[in-house]
């Protein structure tokens, strides 16, 4: 959107695009330093998901620093937050064309995977302890768009701690491991509970770059495409 040079600070996790690494760091997402944020004199602070940050936003409020929180529940809400940011930065048209392009790519994925029956998927956020995605996670929507269906789509919460035996009984046809990228090789093996599942027996374990799936920005559509290609290779020949 051309607003990159207006970014005065970010967190230690921010590594995309490359230029984000060289901006002043205010701590990680769990422990941001409010002092440093205020010292950078931003006009607005962008926060993803409001959890645990009530005290933090209150302090910024007192300094008359605006806070914009995104907490997307599906891909459309990710798109909408990109459009809103475009409006905030005064680059409405660039954001709109970016989103139009992303929508077109997402629609192409949907069209390609539509004829094939959805694959039953377990999305493993971490293996020990076992975490997955629930009905409030935008990833549940992303899986549906990639031609799959999350076996934990009805579990309350966004990232619930999941029972081993319920995992075993969920019998997924495929397991998605978000790994690599900035996570290194964490979460690169499936939990032992899946030992006898069709996913493991048929070797349908797909490692997908965590940065493309668990960071709800423009790269999410890359993640969507990678996931769809992994699940339905025949549809993308």
């Amino acid at each position: 959107m051309g607003a990159g040079e207006r970014l005065v600070g970010d967190t230690t996790y921010c590594d995309y695009p490359e230029a984000a690494k060289s901006v002043a760091k205010v701590g990680d997402t769990m422990h941001p330093s409010v002092e440093r944020i205020i010292a950078l004199k931003p006009q607005i602070v962008l926060v993803s998901t409001a959890s645990q940050l009530e005290a933090f936003t209150k302090q910024l409020d007192e300094q008359h620093i605006a806070v914009y929180v995104t907490n997307p529940r599906n891909l459309d809400e990710v798109f909408r937050s990109i459009e809103t940011l475009g409006d905030l930065f005064g680059s409405h048209d660039r954001a709109a064309s970016l989103v139009a392009d992303l929508r077109r790519r997402a629609a192409a994925v949907a069209a390609a995977t539509k004829p094939t029956p959805p694959v039953r998927i377990f999305y493993q956020v971490s293996d020990s302890p076992l975490y997955t995605i629930g009905r409030e996670a935008y990833l549940t929507d992303l899986i549906r768009r990639a031609g799959g269906v999350s076996v934990t789509a009805d579990v309350p919460g966004a990232f619930p701690r999941f029972s081993d035996e319920a995992a075993l009984a969920s019998n997924p046809d495929a397991i998605i491991l978000p790994t690599g990228g900035s996570m290194g090789n964490a979460n690169s093996t499936v939990a032992p509970a899946f030992k006898g599942s069709p996913a493991v027996l048929n070797n349908r374990i797909y490692k997908i770059n965590e940065d493309h799936l668990q960071r709800p920005g423009p790269r999410l559509v890359d993640g969507l495409e990678e996931m769809a290609r992994a699940l339905h290779p025949e549809a993308f020949k």
Binding site: S128, S163, E165
Partner: protein
């Protein structure tokens, strides 16, 4: 005359422990047939009794024998560890509040485990070893801090325990802050006590620690009885007080280390269970130690069954349940006592 009273004690211990053992078996069976996945009741009982062809599908069989039973066994072992260690500390320190968690011993073991995870992440054996070392160091420091000229008074002991506990809690927060985000999630869960993810090797190590710890503590029960009269009196009666003290500290640290390494900090077990046992059966340590071991197993298996079923298919950490049951129960016991 002496042999007669010894026989009565033995009979009483045997009958009470037999009763508790029976309760334990019943609780294990109940815990095995309920879980987030519903298994056919009759077939499960049939399979548990060791028969084959009970009509369980291979999936149900795996749930029962690969996931549920190992977890129940670990819960039982952790309960034995914490309750027996609690009974040991309470007798040794002549303090009803002495408990692995309040004394800072659990946190010592937790810091040891975290150091093992950070520096020897791959080696599973390093966790119980470092947890044991951490527990031992923490209990030694607490004991040294508490020992004034007049010996370790109950107040000084608890104060020293609180200081060491809070200091180590800060160390834990410090270490988790330094670790990367993906590990923090597993740690916050583990710190509250988490029994999932049992491996055969961890289970084996925990069981070995349970056997050694309980046998050593039970073997010193008579000396502990005499020491409850006061260490000087015990010494006059022929008890090697300082030797017993070292042995009990080591055995209790071994138990706490094993339980923390495999399941994190499960609170209140070491406090509530020995208290219930003493209130019900008196304070003869020959009985209290063994009965606490069995009662601890029952308590943690019961708590973990709630933890893994109450919001199924999601889970709670077992430490949250032991604290939710333990704290009110303890307040009730205090008011009644």
């Amino acid at each position: 005359m002496i042999s007669g009273s010894a026989r009565t004690t033995l009979m009483r211990t045997a009958s009470i422990c037999g009763l508790l053992l029976l309760t334990l078996v019943v609780v294990i069976v109940i815990a095995a047939v309920i879980g987030s996945q519903r298994l056919p009741f009759g077939s499960s009982l049939c399979a548990l009794s060791g028969k084959s062809n009970c009509g369980l599908s291979s999936e149900e069989h795996a749930i029962l024998f690969d996931l549920r039973l190992p977890r129940i066994l670990l819960a039982g072992a952790v309960g034995v560890c914490l309750a027996t260690a609690g009974a040991g500390y309470q007798a040794l320190l002549r303090n009803p509040l002495a408990e692995p968690y309040l004394l800072g011993v659990s946190n010592g073991a937790a810091v040891g485990t975290m150091i093992a995870l950070v520096f020897f992440g791959a080696a599973e054996w390093s966790r119980p070893v470092m947890a044991f070392a951490g527990a031992l160091i923490a209990s030694f420091i607490v004991y040294q801090l508490a020992r004034g000229r007049a010996g370790a008074t109950p107040e000084r002991l608890i104060l020293a325990g609180v200081i060491v506990t809070t200091f180590l809690s800060s160390a834990i927060v410090f270490i988790t802050t330094l670790m990367d985000a993906t590990r923090i999630r597993s740690f916050t869960f583990w710190l509250l006590g988490d029994l999932s993810g049992t491996t055969t090797s961890l289970l084996t190590i925990t069981f070995i620690a349970v056997l050694i710890g309980v046998i050593v503590l039970a073997a010193n029960a008579r000396s502990l009885n005499l020491m409850m009269l006061g260490e000087r009196d015990a010494f006059d009666l022929g008890v090697e007080v300082s030797r017993v003290r070292v042995i009990v500290f080591i055995a209790a640290s071994l138990l706490v280390g094993a339980s923390v390494a495999s399941s994190g900090s499960v609170g209140y077990v070491g406090l509530v269970v020995p208290h219930l046992v003493r209130l019900s059966f008196g304070s003869d340590n020959r009985l209290v130690i063994v009965a606490s071991a069995l009662g601890g197993a029952v308590f943690v298996i019961f708590a973990d069954t709630i933890a893994r079923t109450i919001i199924a298919p999601r889970e709670l950490p077992v430490g949250a349940i032991t604290a939710l049951i333990g704290a009110p129960l303890f307040i009730y016991l205090l008011r009644r006592g």
